[in-house]
């Protein structure tokens, strides 16, 4: 039985403008020690997926499909039961540690809170544990720093504290939503190194969410490329990066400035862009969400759901015109 089994997950957001399909037909499994990346641009549904996995989808959302953790169905679970899972079996590291940490509580107490709630530790034992966690994530002088407030730490250290909090109850699944977006590249590398190390050390499963292709390439074994609420391509990261199949994945990879090219080219060339803009989730075409922006679009793309086309191994993508697309380098 896989640790996490997501099948046909769907999130609909009901707003005054109508219903938006934020996540459509998402299916994947994840085992202990595995790392999975979700990549896509703003509004593609990657963060909504994370919230659904945490049982934190907003009140105006309907979550349907199936979401199983160790075989237990989580969709439709009572909020009280979710509280026993959240932080305990599934934990999350958020993008902005300054907003995710409570500014008026000492960090040691914040890390200790889940330990007291979920594991019933005494205040003193929880504090000891919190200090040990701070030490593990690389905060110098943890015993003294446990009494500091979030604003007394640098951005990188705050993110380390977030990681310590997420790890407190030794979750099975760790979700990191853009964990390093606000950080400098050198700090980013350290933080991701730490997350990877801890995933291996504790046998957790990692879901890393990012808009940054480079970050995904360097840090996860498998990846899902999301566009307009759907997964358009998935597979081992090495394969997806080596042979991107979906026109959107290809467009995304080509649009990123490349330093290697710049080394050989005397003058930078124009970056290939994807024409048009991201579709409105309220009025998605019934067919492929990328239809219209895609150079291969034909009438059927707009009306028909694209089939899943298997490639080498577990690498696959969804496209109605796969034969033509794959024949084009």
């Amino acid at each position: 039985m896989p640790l996490l089994e997501v099948s046909h997950l769907r999130v609909d957001l009901h707003t005054h403008r109508g219903t938006a399909a934020a996540v459509r037909d998402m299916t994947f499994t994840l085992d202990r020690g595995e790392t999975l990346g979700l990549i896509g641009e703003s509004g593609c549904g990657k963060s909504m997926t994370a919230l659904a996995l945490m049982g934190l989808a907003p009140e105006n959302a309907t979550v349907s499909g199936s979401l199983k953790l160790e075989g237990r169905e989580l969709i439709g679970l009572h909020d009280r039961d979710w509280r026993a899972i959240r932080g305990y079996q599934v934990a999350m590291i958020f993008q902005e540690p300054m907003t995710a940490l409570n500014p008026v509580h000492r960090v040691g107490a914040q890390i200790a809170e889940p330990l007291r709630l979920h594991q019933g530790l005494t205040a003193a034992a929880a504090r000891q544990q919190a200090i040990a966690l701070m030490e593990r994530v690389g905060i110098p002088e943890p015993a003294r720093r446990a009494d500091s407030f979030p604003h007394q730490f640098s951005g990188g250290q705050r993110q380390r504290i977030m990681i310590a909090m997420a790890l407190a109850c030794e979750p099975d699944v760790l979700i990191a939503d853009e964990p390093t977006t606000a950080l400098d590249v050198t700090v980013q590398k350290q933080i991701l190194g730490l997350i990877r190390e801890l995933v291996t050390e504790r046998g957790m499963a990692l879901i890393l969410i990012s808009h940054d292709l480079g970050l995904i390439a360097q840090n996860v074994q498998r990846m899902l490329v999301m566009y307009g609420g759907s997964v358009v391509e998935s597979g081992p990261s090495a394969d997806v990066f080596a042979r991107p199949a979906h026109p959107y994945t290809r467009g995304l990879m080509a649009a990123r400035p490349n330093m290697q090219h710049r080394l050989v080219a005397h003058r930078s060339e124009r970056l290939p862009t994807i024409p048009g803009s991201v579709p409105d989730l309220f009025s998605l075409p019934p067919g492929c969400p990328f239809a219209g922006r895609c150079a291969f679009t034909e009438d059927a793309c707009v009306t028909q759901q694209p089939p899943t086309v298997p490639l080498q191994g577990t690498h696959q993508f969804r496209c109605l015109r796969a034969d033509v697309v794959l024949a084009t380098p």
Binding site: T186, H211, S237, M259
Partner: protein, 272 residues
Amino acid sequence: MDNAQSPFLLEIRDVTRRYTLPRESLFRAPGEVQALRGVSLNVTTGRSMGIVGESGSGKSTLARLVMALEPPTSGEILFMGRNLHALPPDKLRAARRDFQMVFQDPYGSLDPRRPIWRTVAEPAAALEGATRAQQRERAAATLESVGLRADALDKYPHEFSGGQRQRIAIARALITKPKLIVADEAVSALDVSVQAQVLNLMADLRDHHGVTFLFISHDLAVVSHLCADVAVMKGGLIVEQGPVRQVLREPAHDYTRTLLESVPELVAPAGV
């Protein structure tokens, strides 16, 4: 004045900038922070300069000084041969037409209650006192040069996507036909595909409108794409500068090497 004498568009000469921190104790002098510790940099017309460095390295302070939004503690900044910080207010105001700025946050830098044409025309209106009709006409022409249709004129910022808003911010900078545009993390908040569109637009402006960029970013790949030269900042100092290709190929400073190694490449390493 002596415009013709300087071979450089922008000359930054040994500039320092010190800030006084808020007083923490009644009995101690307030602390100070040295944001810039002696920075010298020359920008030649037609050779866009990239500035990379971590948060706190002094990049944005430098941008504010170049924009004459605040004076340096010591040193001088010459734009087209004139010391900006020694100019009387009216001369400085007139000089501003030649250097404009684009900010990081396209949401925060546009007035949500103003139609686009007023935001875009504002620098021209402030400098030239054009009539309403002239302003609209110039705003329309400028919006067109950044790839927006004239029907954008009467819309409001919330009606545009992030990339379009950044185009509007660029149009506002462009309307006075500046020689230098200071772009402070101008594409950092944009999605990759939108970022590519805005970078292409900036390359067009550089190639066809004679705009030289002072392009500030933490992203070495973006900087190296747009700029001919690059300066690497750390702790208020420029630790390395030179042509982009040379700095990328043979980084001389340890910190530049660290920065280069930290840029994640698109190839998955074995064993991840």
